[in-house]
Amino acid sequence: MEKLAGVLLSSLFAAGLYATMSYGLAVIYGVMRIINLAHAGLMMLAAYVTLSLNTWLGLDPFLSLLVVAPLFFGIGVVLDLTIVRRLPRGGNAPSMQSLLLLFGLWLVLQNLAYLVWSGDTQSILTPYTMTSVHLLGESYGVPLLLVFGVSGLSLVGLDLLLRRTFLGKAIRAVTQNRDAARLSGVNADRISAVAFGLGTAFAAIAGTMMSTLYAFTPDFGRSFLLKAFCIIVLGGLGSFTGVAVGALVLALIENVFAAYTPIPTSFQDAISFSLLVLVLVAAPNGLPALFRGFSRKALAR
C-alpha cells in the first residue's frame, strides 16, 4: 500500500514537469497548426542559458526563470516573425513543410549549443541539489519538489492568461477557428507570434527546470520531445486540460512499469515511445475523443 502511495506521488511530481514541457507544444499546435520539432532544441538551449547564468552570476536556476522565460518569449516571437511566418499556411492540418523547417531549426540550435558550450555533459549543482524530503516513507529530492511547485504555478498562470484576459480569449478564438476569429477582428498573425513566443517560453521554463534534475548535452531533449508528443496526443491535440491528464497518465505508466515490472529502467524510454505509437494508432484524436466515442456507441445501443 505504501509502495502504491509512493508510486502515485512520484507520478504526480513527474507529471508537473511533463505538463509544462507539453503545454508549449500544445499552444503552438492549437493556434498555428504547426508541430514544433524545435521544441527539444529550445529546451536544451534554455538549460545552457541557465547554466551560464549560474556560473557567471551565481544565479539560482529557479530564480533565473525570471530572466530566461521572458528572454525565450522574445526569441519565440522573433523566430515566428523571421522564419515561421514565411511558410505557406497549410489549412487546418499541419504541413510537412513546417515540420521539416523546424526540424532544421532544431539541428541549427544543437550546433549553436555545441559551438558555444562544447559537447561535454553539463549539470548544474545548487546547495540543495543533494538534499531531500521524506514523504509517505519515500524520499524526494528538493529540486524535484521545487520543479513541481514551479510547474504548478506556471500552469495556473497560463490558465489564468487564457481564461481571464482579452489576449487569452483571442488565443482561444484563433485555436477554435482562425477564419472566424479574423472575421471578428482578431489580428491572427499577431496572435500567432504571441503563441509561438508563449510556446517557446514554456519550452524554456521546462528546460531550465530540467537542468536542475538531469545532466545535459547539445543532444538533450529528444526523448522528452517524444514524451511531450505522447502527452499531447494522449490528451487530445489542443485541449489544455487534456494535456494535464495526458502528462499524469504517461508519468503513471512509467512509474508503474518501473516499480512493478522487472523491465530495467534503461528501457523506460522504449516504453514511452511504444506507448506513443500505440496511442497515435488507437486514438489519433486523443483519449477524450476515444472516451466520447465509446459513450456515444454505448448510448446508441
Binding site: 510537412m96 515511445f273 505509437v277
Partner: protein, 317 residues
C-alpha cells in the same frame, strides 16, 4: 513530373559507367569515397520511394540499416558466408517494415513522421540494452575473407539496382498509385487505390534495399554498434539527401547523395567544418523548405525557365 525517357537513360548510363568503371582507374582512397556515394544513393533513392513518391516522410530509416547490419554480423559470426546473409538481411528488414507499417500507416502526414521518430528511438534503446547485439559496445565481424573491391562492386550494383527499381516503379501503375496517395490520399482512396497496401509495399521494397545496404555496410566496416547503425543522425541524413536533391523525383536523391557524400568528405577533412555539420544540414533543410521545397531539381527547373523566358526578349532586342 516525368523526365523524358532518353534523358533518364543517359544519366543512368553515366552513373553506371562512373561507378562500375572507377576501380579500373581510381585509387583506393577515391574508391572509398565512391563506396560512400553508392551507399548514400541506395539510402536516398530507397527512402524516396516511400518518403518522396508516396509522401510518407519517415524519420526512422536507420532501423533498417541497423537490422541489415546486425543480421549480417550475427550470421557471419555463426559461420555464414557474408554474401549469403544479404538476402536474409533484406528479408528481416522487410518483415520489420511490415510490423511497424501496419500500425503507423494509419497515421497521416506529420503524425506518421513523429511516430517513426518514436519507432527509431525505441529500436535504438532496445538494441543498446539487449545481450545479443553486444550492447552499446557493439560487435565485430569475424576476420578474414574480406575483399574491398568485391564489396565495392556489391554496393555499386546495389545502388544502380535501387535506381532502376525506383525508375520502373515510377513508370508503373504502382508509381501512379503512390503519386495519387501523395497528392490527395482521400481522392486516391475514393478512386479505389488501396492506400495502406501500396504504402506497405513501397515501405517493404525500400526496407529491403536499405537492409541489404546495411549488410554491406557491416561487411565494409567490420565493426558495428547501436551508436553507429541505429543512430538518429543516420536517419537524419537519409531524409536530408532526397529532400535537398529534390523530393519525389528520380534524379533528386542521386544528386542529394552525391552532394552529401562530398560534404561529408570535406567535413571530415577540416576540423572547423566538422564541428558545424549540423549548421550545414539544418541550414540546408531550412533553406530548402523556405525557398525551394523541390530542392536542387526545383532550382534547376527554375533556372531553365528563366533562360527560356529571357531568350525571346533577347531576340526582340
Amino acid at each position: 513530373m516525368k523526365a523524358p525517357l532518353t534523358r533518364s537513360l543517359v544519366w543512368f548510363g553515366v552513373l553506371a559507367a562512373g561507378l562500375l568503371g572507377a576501380p579500373a582507374a581510381a585509387e583506393r582512397g577515391t574508391l572509398n569515397d565512391l563506396w560512400n556515394v553508392a551507399f548514400a544513393i541506395v539510402l536516398a533513392s530507397a527512402w524516396n520511394l516511400l518518403g518522396g513518391f508516396a509522401g510518407q516522410i519517415s524519420l526512422g530509416y536507420s532501423a533498417f540499416v541497423g537490422i541489415g547490419a546486425y543480421t549480417t554480423v550475427l550470421l557471419a559470426m555463426a559461420g555464414w558466408n557474408p554474401w549469403l546473409t544479404l538476402p536474409v538481411a533484406a528479408a528481416l528488414a522487410v518483415a520489420f517494415s511490415v510490423i511497424i507499417g501496419l500500425p503507423t500507416f494509419r497515421l497521416r502526414g506529420p503524425y506518421f513522421s513523429i511516430a517513426t521518430i518514436g519507432v527509431g528511438e525505441a529500436v535504438r534503446v532496445i538494441a543498446s540494452g539487449v545481450e545479443f547485439t553486444g550492447g552499446s559496445s557493439g560487435l565485430r565481424m569475424p576476420s578474414g575473407g574480406f575483399n574491398f573491391i568485391s564489396n565495392y562492386y556489391g554496393m555499386a550494383v546495389l545502388a544502380l539496382f535501387t535506381v532502376a527499381v525506383v525508375f520502373f516503379i515510377h513508370h508503373d501503375a504502382f508509381g501512379l498509385a503512390l503519386d495519387a496517395i501523395r497528392q490527395d490520399i482521400d481522392a486516391a482512396e475514393a478512386l479505389g487505390v488501396q492506400s495502406t497496401r501500396y504504402k506497405l509495399l513501397a515501405h517493404a521494397v525500400s526496407a529491403a534495399l536499405v537492409g541489404a545496404a546495411g549488410g554491406l555496410f557491416a561487411m565494409n566496416f567490420q565493426y558495428i554498434s547501436p551508436g553507429s547503425v541505429f543512430d538518429f543522425r543516420l536517419s537524419l541524413s537519409i531524409v536530408l539527401m532526397p529532400i535537398v536533391g529534390g523530393i519525389a523525383t528520380l534524379v533528386g536523391p542521386v544528386l542529394g547523395a552525391v552532394l552529401f557524400s562530398y560534404l561529408q568528405i570535406k567535413l571530415l577533412a577540416s576540423p572547423a567544418l566538422r564541428d558545424s555539420y549540423l549548421f550545414i544540414y539544418g541550414g540546408l533543410l531550412m533553406a530548402v523548405m523556405l525557398f525551394e521545397p523541390r530542392g536542387m531539381v526545383g532550382l534547376w527547373e527554375r533556372l531553365v525557365r528563366l533562360r527560356s523566358r529571357q531568350r525571346p526578349q533577347a531576340a526582340e532586342a
